[in-house]
Assembly symmetry: C2
DNA sequence: ACGCATCACTGAAGCGTTTAAGTCTATTTG
DNA sequence: CAAATAGACTTAAACGCTTCAGTGATGCGT
């Protein structure tokens, strides 16, 4: 509370009889003799000096922070992704500033716009086609996860082959003999023509499926409510566009006394660790590979190395007991 | 990538024929005429001007960022807590810088020390008794969640009545007739005499229980491995100090073909939303209340309002099917 | 012994804001 | 009507660091 003033670089300079510049160099191991470096280190430790990241950032133009703009942190899988990215960034001496668009394209735009003082941005776009992305990507390195940003010059993209993922899921369900299904996609304010939705419609037509397409929030309680409305219409199977939503369906099914997969088959999407425990059949994206690739791309870009690589993740089907 | 330069306040000043100071005031609605304000607003919008948070922070001494130092983000409950706090902070125009001590007191110290340029700190301490807390708390407002920081002058504390929580869990298990139990606490590098451990030992003695105390990581896969080692010793019940660990036990039990709670009862701690789905009996802490209280305290303190309140959370028992 | 690098460091400008103090005009007040 | 007051700005000094362009000393080759 006391907000005690911390030591500045000037005080260290005074203590060692050097100039502030020399101290600055010494602390970062540049341009100084071994001996001076040692002396400075000692004095700094003595005074409890710790460089002020704000001042450093203003002077150097680099903050060491990477913004992580998540589509919706209510989704457990995205939580896991965020934690993984934060952890991996730390190994590069960088910190993640985690932001949550909460499924709202408007908020996504606001957050992306306000985001300065960040060396790079990793984004799981809610609205990949939005008009503001090119402008953002022009002012700092942007790496997109999930969907590409078609109109922006990103520093890299780790995209999911959602077309293949949807096909895989729907073919699997169709192969089990299901014709009448429901599809639950995450609720998001006004994002028309989402790529995933388009894929679902196309595949439904191709496979001659009767689908009831609805939206659901990612929170367990809220998703359960939506599912409780849906299940009485007795779809043969429910395909959820995130494991979090699928958990809600499982919960609702149990509350209604429906057996899974007997009365209703349930499929998820993403493969959160908990899915292995609850037996959810789901489409798997390799989260570790995604984390690793995204971090590598954004770190390279923030160092000025140009990559602009597009890495495509292939889906895999994890069959368990729910479908 | 182009790193296109954004407009500065000076350019807005030039465009309007005012001084930078006037623009600064106008943009924050102070000391200027309505008319000038409007003119500045328009010019700023035109130029796409957005204040640089770094420079603003250096000049004003406030960043709008609150540090959130989590004990271990592998724990799903702590993930949920972090997401909730970030979301709630946003309503106060503040951002959360989420950091993960990963159960390591050493890392906790490093992170806490480096943490400057943050208006306040919310921490779920790994090592509440550590010697560096007083120093940290002196340089910025600190709010502790979970365990209090006994030696530091914090700006507030939202503590869990772990004594009551442990008693509740152990009495419940004892009441079910269990004598031989195992307790799984989160792995953390070298933190001696953790309060929770002490409570467990005391209660074990009082209730005359035979307990096998072990540690486990919070990740599902890793926790499952530990549990797979433990379960063959056939404890009557396993009490886990986090739901995440309990999930691992449930998984291992299923892998080994043990019925829950028939062959082994499992109890968790924290009450993550998923526990309602997997039927985990657990000790509940009201996460929404905790989030709300912690944010309120840290925001008040970062505004200079002194509170220093200690809020104690009472445990509740959520009985489900696993014990 | 001479020029030429190299090394170790210093001086000072700047990064883009905020903010305390000061200036000038217009208005109010005794 | 002089003096005090308020309003609307401007000036300039921070904020704490980095970094560019020097400045003397040394070491080196010839």
């Amino acid at each position: 509370m006391a907000q005690r003033k911390r030591a500045t670089i000037r005080e260290v300079a005074q203590a060692t009889g050097l100039s502030p510049a020399a101290v600055s160099y010494a602390l970062r191991g540049m341009q100084v003799s071994e001996e001076t470096m040692e002396r400075v280190r000692r004095a700094a430790a003595e005074l409890g000096y710790e460089a002020d990241p704000i001042a450093r950032a203003l002077a150097s133009g680099k903050t060491g922070m990477i913004g992580l703009l998540c589509g919706s942190l209510e989704d457990l899988w995205q939580q896991a992704l965020a934690v993984g990215i934060a952890r991996t960034l730390r190994d590069d001496e960088r910190y993640a500033l985690i932001l949550d668009a909460a499924g709202d394209p408007g908020r996504e735009q606001t957050l992306a716009r306000q985001l300065r003082g960040v060396d790079g941005l990793i984004v799981q776009p809610v609205d990949p086609a939005a008009a503001f992305w090119p402008e953002i990507a022009e002012s700092l390195p942007v790496v997109a996860i999930g969907d590409a940003l078609p109109r922006a010059q990103t520093a890299g993209e780790v995209v999911f082959d959602n077309r293949a993922g949807v096909t895989m899921a729907l073919e699997y369900l169709a192969g089990k003999g299901h014709r009448k299904l429901a599809v639950l996609t995450p609720t998001q304010a006004s994002t028309p023509d989402r790529p995933a939705d388009v894929h679902v419609m196309a595949e439904a037509k191709r496979l001659d499926l009767d689908i009831d397409m609805r939206t659901a929030p990612q929170g367990l309680a809220a998703a359960t409510e939506v599912a409780a409305d849906l299940l009485p219409t007795r779809p043969g199977a429910v395909f959820c566009f995130s494991d979090s939503i699928a958990y809600g369906v499982l919960r609702a099914a149990r509350d209604l006394g429906l057996s899974v997969p007997g009365d209703v088959a349930v499929m998820g999407y993403d493969d959160h660790p908990m899915s292995s425990l609850v037996g959810l059949t789901t489409v798997n994206w390799d989260i570790d590979a995604i984390v690793e690739a995204a971090v590598r791309l954004v770190v390279a870009a923030s160092n000025g190395k140009i990559r602009r690589r597009r890495i495509v993740q292939p889906p895999r089907l994890h069959q368990r007991t729910s479908a």
